[in-house]
Symmetry: C2
């Protein structure tokens, strides 16, 4: 149940339309909880029906923009959810399954794929580092909110570094 709450979070940061939300997901919250515009419209519909968000102005024809605001009930729900205990979910990574498959098949070499993944993870790491330098330059003072946003980014950086190290180690050993 994270997507509706990710949407509430993003709308609380700044009310906007569905398409604008989808764009924001492509380069911010979506790094840690990706969503397509179809998912977003579906959830916006449910959130509106539940009274957690509301569209500004009246419902107009299909295709015209609809601006959404978070209602008090939506904010309360987001508080409730973010405080509720929830365990981490296991990783679920296809490349690791493929390595196990290669181990049992014995006829498959995944070196190329590992190199390709290393490349992709390096690119993602670069993107995260650029965001860090732009939004949290060294020496800048951080309030609580910025500190939390930075912590999220640092988690992403740590994962990508972890992947990179693993790719290098695996290529060197195997």
């Amino acid at each position: 149940m994270s997507l509706p709450h990710a949407i509430l979070t993003s709308l609380l940061e700044k009310p906007c339309t569905g398409a604008e939300l989808a764009r924001r997901f492509d380069k911010s919250l979506g790094y840690f909880w990706p969503a397509t515009h179809q998912q977003i419209y579906r959830e916006l519909g449910k959130l509106e029906e539940a009274g957690l968000i509301a569209a500004r102005g009246l419902a107009t024809a299909r295709g015209s923009q609809r601006h959404f605001d978070v209602q008090a009930a939506g904010r309360a729900e987001l508080e409730r959810w973010s405080l509720a205990a929830a365990d981490p979910r296991p990783v679920r990574d296809a490349l690791l399954v493929r390595l196990r498959a290669a181990a049992v098949l014995g006829t498959v070499d995944l070196g190329g794929e590992i190199r390709r993944h290393r490349q992709l993870h390096a690119q993602t790491l670069e993107r995260y580092r650029a965001i860090e330098e732009r939004d949290f330059p060294p020496g800048s003072a951080l309030d609580t909110a910025s500190g939390l946003r930075r912590a999220v980014l640092l988690a992403g950086i740590a994962f990508e570094e972890s992947w990179l190290a693993w790719c290098a180690e695996t290529l060197a050993t195997g």
Copy 2:
């Protein structure tokens, strides 16, 4: 499309029944691609219908055991899939969404949850390390298959260590 291939991999390691597969997923491949017994039975049905696996003996009454073997077509499909290029999927972690929510709400302290997650990740890391010591003791010679299985385990260890470091850092800074 990883679950059917994870099942093929596991059945290729050792043919067995659905329940045995579910048990194996709980403590091996399932660390990296979890699945419930309902998912597994559903996929077994599809794989059987597609002719990629076959049940030993005749179909008997409901409730009786059914032993599955991988067919040649199943092995071919697993080779094809494991060699096909597939990009890594983004992380999708609820705790990071909750941190962003806490940043915008300003009234939520997630310190307790982060400590709890640190605890859980520490336990998982312990479990992985125990498996490493049991299956790949220092000094043991590794053939290609063992090397690949060990690489998968090392990925899990690296992620858990990464999480642990992040939790510690976040608790110290925030």
